[in-house]
């Protein structure tokens, strides 16, 4: 490996000078500068990032902690984050927490040991107090934590209302809801939005909501039970697209027609919704933009630049596809 000393020697200057041209700071004569640059190129020299990190206490890498990259929502977010990070010269560490608080905590410790500069946290299990004590810049995506931690999310309640209302407008009469885990904010908000729209309907009762825990398998089962038990159901507002896709599958397996017998609308706007037949109508969050913004905010935080807003809520968008009439 060639080091800064080798370059200094070859260019007949001190390491200090080489460091100066490397970092573009401090005075250095144009000629020496040129000479050093030439040698650097000749040797194809690249400064050692670890040595640099040790001194500067930062690593130009940030971590993305999420429950499970296998859940189709997260790769889309991860892609956005990576793209944005790259633009600013940062590198991405991927951490699956498996929703386990312990693993999440351990990860944070390891990250600190590695001088990781900051963390983007999606759907964490850490309490706000824990987060604030983290000793690491953090931005949260997709979970509304009540604290001073910068947060990026979308209008869940509004989106849920919009989706449910849309179903009504389309003439569906009895709208069921597939909800996510009970301990997750987005899930509760979406449920709330649904309630806001339907709670006063004559046909409404609590049995119309079933828990699908944001995953396919449970959603398929839940949907079948729901429809079997309450055959009057003719529409489903699903708390996320994954469950929505599960509902589509369940309904098809039961031999019913979509969107005529049953209309379905999801939430998230992941590409999975476009991969199935019929394509899933959904309340879309701007996932990519959210990821990019989170990355940008984190970088600002890291570089001690001011944040205009510490809390950003994106509007949602109704994408009408084929699972609604």
């Amino acid at each position: 490996m060639t080091t800064i000393r080798d370059i200094a020697k070859a260019a007949e200057v001190s390491v200090a000078t080489v460091s100066r041209v490397l970092n573009n700071n401090g005075y250095v004569h144009v000629d020496t500068r040129a000479r050093v640059l030439k040698i650097i190129k000749e040797f194809n020299y690249r400064p050692n990032a670890v040595a640099r990190s040790l001194y500067k206490k930062q690593s130009n890498t940030i971590a993305l902690i999420l429950p499970d990259i296998t859940n189709p929502f997260f790769p889309e977010l991860a892609k956005a984050v990576e793209d944005a990070l790259n633009l600013y010269g940062y590198t991405l560490m991927l951490c699956n927490s498996d929703e386990r608080p312990l693993k999440e905590r351990e990860y944070v410790e390891i990250l600190k040991q590695k001088y990781v500069d900051g963390v983007i946290l999606v759907s964490h299990t850490l309490a706000p107090e824990d987060l604030e004590r983290l000793g690491l810049p953090v931005v949260i995506v997709d979970r509304n934590v009540h604290g001073k931690i910068p947060t990026v999310l979308s209008n869940n309640i509004g989106g849920a209302r919009r989706g449910t209302r849309f179903l009504k407008e389309k003439g569906y009469k009895v709208i069921a809801h597939l909800r996510g885990p009970e301990n997750i904010v987005t899930s509760n908000e979406r449920y709330q939005g649904y309630l806001d729209v339907v709670a006063d309907e004559s046909w409404f009762h609590e049995g119309l909501t079933a828990v699908g825990n944001y995953n396919m398998k449970e959603s398929v089962t839940a949907t079948k039970e729901l429809i079997t038990k309450y055959p009057e159901i003719d529409a489903i507002f699903s708390g996320n697209d994954v469950m929505g896709v599960g509902a589509v599958k369940a309904v098809q397996e039961m031999g019913k027609q979509i969107p005529d017998d049953i209309g379905i609308i999801g939430f998230d706007g992941i590409t999975l919704g476009e991969m199935i037949y019929p394509e899933l109508t959904t309340i879309a969050q701007p996932i990519y933009e959210m990821g990019v913004l989170a990355a940008r905010m984190l970088i600002k935080l890291i570089e001690n630049k001011p944040l205009n807003t510490t809390f950003y809520e994106f509007p949602i968008k109704l994408i009408e596809r084929k699972t609604t009439r």
Copy 2:
């Protein structure tokens, strides 16, 4: 931040001794050891990984370079790799190459600067020579590169034959093929396997193969064109599941019945295949196992342990679901 010196001071020993107990090597008296450990716990001290890296020239992190985490095959692999890595105390760097040779190359340079210990490369654009010059332990997944680089893959030709033959056995008469990109080994091998089985059939001609480039959109278009142009087609062997899912969608959009009018079989065994209706019959690779093995091999390589095999080919498995009769 508390450092090794703080611990040394508090425990009234030298940093050398602390280092010894930290790393469990060299002689240290049981009592001093206990004392040091106690102080470490008291201070909740964690050694600085960067300083360690600088000295040892390794970082306990490995990188996974893949084309695009958004493609549903890769998250499953990434999950496996991460799980395995964690077991051995390694951490995962995620790098999307976007199939761009330049980005891939830049990444490798950055990784070297960071003392990343090794790389798992999926579907790279680097030539074997480049790889060998990399100066970094590498294992390749899913691409058969002819070199001495350790490789993990599955039996693509055999799998393709098996899948195509299966379609014949089920009584399908005219079998088309949706193939992947022409410059990718797995894609060519799967094509070859298809040819091996059908090339001598009276109905066979080259027009029955269409390029879907391993992605959904193109596969939908390609499938529709194929079926429109050659209405006698009654089965499709798809080079991967993503295209298979695309084919299912295309066929349904055309109003044909699966599996009666048209049978479809995919390749890969990703969970996406189970999310659609009807569920996709497929030639499954053991993706998780492949990821785990790749990680293990890489770690052995890094730790200079002997590798029993430098080339590992997994058997495939036919999973019969609902897109074939």
